[in-house]
């Protein structure tokens, strides 16, 4: 392939940013230069990191900067532009170097709108090219502290901070480079159970310095890994299967079966991806785990890698989680320096390298095959399944994908044994579970409760519904609206299914009587319209049409035939979309609208 790069040269800042990541350009031997096309593409997977380096340094992707990346990585410019324009956090036009991304999604609806109005008055319209600007953002995974904001200030080094309870004052402080992330002392506001006895997943959260390795080792961290190494991979997989653990990322697939399939896959090497893209509106559990107990995540990855024959694992973390990314990176550094990871797992096992990869604003990259594409340096478009990731995954190799919370359950199972894990809950819902409770409850936050608790019990723990209860959104934007009638439903896979809902990522978002249901439903429609990757017709055009349909309804002017349209469109999207995004996009909208009968007057 001949590369045709017509871009102007990069600025010094751009060149430095890219060279810092990729190393100085190698001197190409004359013979190589003569060979047609020169040296071939080697590290396409570094495209996303390279684009991050540019955006972090200068605040946007320029033609010169992108051209230089193309030259270094030997990626065709059109291809690289396709990637650059896919991700929401990158700008392909000049924009202010300091940007605040304000969440205006479901839980932050009102507070977010108020902030946006104020920012508009102070800084002018969104996306200007001055000193500072603002943008709207989908859920930032801080719903328990609504409204949330994420500030990025380009430079060397870049400054990024995400925070809840956002105010203009806090945003201004962040513009000035003041870190706004919560302190350990303040954590109990959002993880109210902090320090309570008997917590299995949140046990260390808020109690220990999150990156202090000695403190963690003293508290039992990596004991599960030690046991895994002593019993061997097959026995580890038997434990996991015996525990009944199912995936906590939304699809609830039996974890043991997935591990067995990867371990048995003949192709080599095997890869592991820890799915830390957490972008389902209403979900923030993985963020809390990564920020406050990063070693538990690493230990889970290490055990999973050992059990499935993986020597290279990736953590794909959403771009809006700077604190979690920093803590994980630091934890990896310390654990590697201590010989727990790296050349030999815990000093005696096989090697394991863990790389952190940062997303760039795309909900769809949480879908496992889109996640692979993204790590491989491509647009985050889902692949057709089969073949399944356990056979053909990252770089075309057998790959284990697990959610952060799933992996954090793993050391626990190894420490306490499958039987005691399986004794909690039942069916496909065993063990402890994290619930993301936000909205109109007394104490929004992250709660660990045993599988089997009812919705009513979850609400009670979270301080009840002091302002009344209008409806609840279970499972996030891809979930279902339910009402009081669902309060005695056990929040298990089976229980939620029985009422026609789904547990999803264990989101419980509560709306009181002051909420505006149609506005919320419209925001959900907008979310899917924004986040569809655009590959398949039912979702690409379907999400646009769904949004239009809800917008009509919001204006009080639905058309005759809209009900049938919604039904048919929903079925086609569910049946014919490639991936879970399109397949579930109509669920919350459908259930939400159904709860809103009677219909307003039909438009003529």
């Amino acid at each position: 392939m001949d590369l045709k790069i017509h871009a102007p040269p990069p600025t010094t800042a751009e060149r430095t940013a890219v060279d810092e990541l990729l190393g100085p350009p190698a001197v190409v031997a004359h013979a190589d230069r003569v060979r047609r096309g020169g040296p071939q593409v080697t590290r396409r997977d570094l495209l996303l990191p390279a684009l991050h380096a540019l955006q972090d340094r200068v605040g946007f992707l320029s033609e010169g900067g992108l051209g230089y990346v193309c030259e270094r990585l030997r990626v065709p410019p059109a291809d690289a532009f396709g990637v650059a324009s896919f991700y929401a956090l990158w700008s392909t036009v000049p924009i202010a170097p300091t940007v605040v991304h304000v969440c205006d999604d479901i839980a932050c609806r009102r507070g977010g709108e108020a902030l946006v109005t104020e920012l508009g008055a102070a800084l002018g319209p969104s996306g200007t090219n001055g000193g500072q600007t603002w943008k709207r953002s989908p859920c930032l995974g801080l719903c328990e502290q609504a409204p949330a904001a994420y500030v990025t200030r380009a430079g060397s080094p870049v400054f990024r901070t995400a925070f809840g309870n956002a105010t203009i004052t806090k945003i201004q402080a962040a513009f000035g480079g003041e870190d706004q992330s919560p302190s350990r002392e303040g954590l109990s506001h959002f993880v109210p159970q902090t320090g309570s006895p008997g917590l299995k997943l949140l046990g260390r959260v808020g109690r220990l310095d999150p990156v202090d390795l000695d403190a963690h080792l003293g508290d039992g961290a990596f004991a599960g890994l030690q046991r895994a190494l002593s019993i061997g991979p097959a026995a580890v997989r038997t434990e996991i299967s015996g525990s009944g653990l199912t995936g906590r990322g939304g699809a609830a697939f039996p974890t043991g079966r997935k591990w067995d399939a990867v371990a048995a896959a003949p192709a080599q090497p095997h890869y592991l991806c820890c799915n830390a893209d957490e972008s389902e509106p209403g979900t923030f559990k993985d963020r809390v785990l990564m920020e406050w107990d990063p070693y538990a995540v690493l230990e889970g990855i290490a055990i999973a890698a050992f059990a499935t024959g993986v020597e290279h694992a990736f953590i794909y973390i959403r771009g809006e989680y700077p604190l979690a990314e920093a803590r994980l990176t630091e934890a990896i550094r310390r654990a590697t320096a201590r010989g727990l990871l790296g050349a030999r797992l815990a000093g005696s096992g096989p090697p394991l390298t863990i790389s952190v990869r940062r997303g760039a604003g795309a909900y769809i990259c949480g879908e496992e095959t889109a996640l692979f594409e993204s790590i491989e340096g491509k647009r985050g478009e889902p692949r057709s399944k089969p073949p399944f990731p356990v056979h053909v995954g990252l770089f075309g190799k057998p790959t284990l994908v697990n959610n952060v919370e799933t992996l954090v359950n793993v050391p626990l199972i190894l420490r306490e044994g499958a039987a005691s894990f399986a004794a909690v809950g039942g069916g496909a819902s065993t063990g402890p579970k994290l619930f993301c409770v936000s909205g109109a409850v007394g104490r929004p936050g992250l709660y660990e409760l045993p599988f089997g608790v009812t919705l009513r019990e979850v609400l009670a723990v979270a301080g009840g519904t002091p302002r009344g209860l209008r409806s609840l959104l279970l499972g996030g934007a891809a979930g279902t609206f339910v009402g009081e009638e669902a309060l005695d439903t056990p929040l298990t896979l089976e229980g939620t299914r029985k009422i026609g809902a789904s547990l999803g990522s264990a989101v419980v978002m509560v709306f009181d009587h002051t909420s505006e249901p149609l506005d919320v439903i419209r925001r959900i429609a907008q979310f899917f319209r924004d986040e569809s990757c655009g590959k398949c017709v039912p979702c690409r055009v379907g999400t646009q049409r769904l949004e239009e349909l809800v917008a009509r309804r919001l204006r009080g002017q639905p058309r005759e035939g809209d009900e049938l349209l919604r039904e048919e469109l929903g079925q086609a999207m569910r049946d014919a979309s490639i991936c879970g995004l399109g397949q579930t996009a109509h669920l919350a909208i459908d259930s939400g609208l159904r709860r809103l009968n009677p219909l307003p007057e039909l438009a003529k």
Binding site: P76, P138, P386, Q526, D530, E531, E548
Partner: protein, 326 residues
Amino acid sequence: MNPDEINEPIWKVPPPRASVMPARPPDPACQTITLQIDGRTVTVPAGTTLLQAASRLGLRIPTLCWAPTLTPINACRICVVEVEGARTLAPACARPAEAGMVVQTGSERVRLSRKLVLELLASSVALDRAPELLRLIQEYGADPERFGPSAAPADRRDARHAGHHHVGDGATAETVAQPVKVDNSLYVRDYARCVLCYKCVEACGTDAQHTFAITIAGRGFDARVSTEWDAPLPEGACVYCGNCINVCPTGALVFRTEHELREAGSWAPERQQETDTICPFCGVGCTLRVKVQDDKLVSVTSPPEVDVTGGNLCVKGRFGTSYVNG
């Protein structure tokens, strides 16, 4: 025609008909799979797609983004079929057949999804030059009007930013309407007709040309075929092989000659003739299918079933023969 009867010089002899690629002989060691499609049993080699298996039974499944010469991208979803026991429908073009599968190619569920796909496409894209799609719209009773009147063309689709869009009031249905891109003398890109089937991107990339001049940019409803930074073609990597034109199913990519005749209102299919010939330029001997209107050459394609070309040509064969127009 009997060659003996010809006493004209060889170069005046009408060209041979396109040679069709012979079917691959069955691999003797290859595993076979037996499945049921529309109540009939069929046995196929492992790795056969449901589309291929169905065609063995003479069953026709509509396709749009699939082509025999391209890697299945399974984007359009018009080819979905129902596999018993599966939660969702499966794209026949990409889904490998499995032993014991029970497949319905025309069930209610299948027809509903196909109808909606057609309605969604026709409500957002200009399809008046896509006869096969127009026929399917009839066949499936699709009603694109049900989404309401089309919205006025939005400006600067190419400048849209992923994850952000203007939320309308739902009174009209958004479309991909936009001005034709005319930036070179050889072909035009009329993306108001683009169904985003990815075929041109595949033909320009790994499936044929390996030039990578075009890509899919943007996301969701704002996704579009684009060069880097939406640069005019002469400023990018395009080598004008025109292989994208050959695969485009909707008339979004056409010869500039065709575009200008249409603009002038003098495009007249009834006065057109197609002739197969051999490219005069090099020793490969690609088959050219030359379209002529009023004694003027208007476009050159190559039939995809021809083994020499697979439908692909280079710039010389595609665009270099206009000298015949004098």
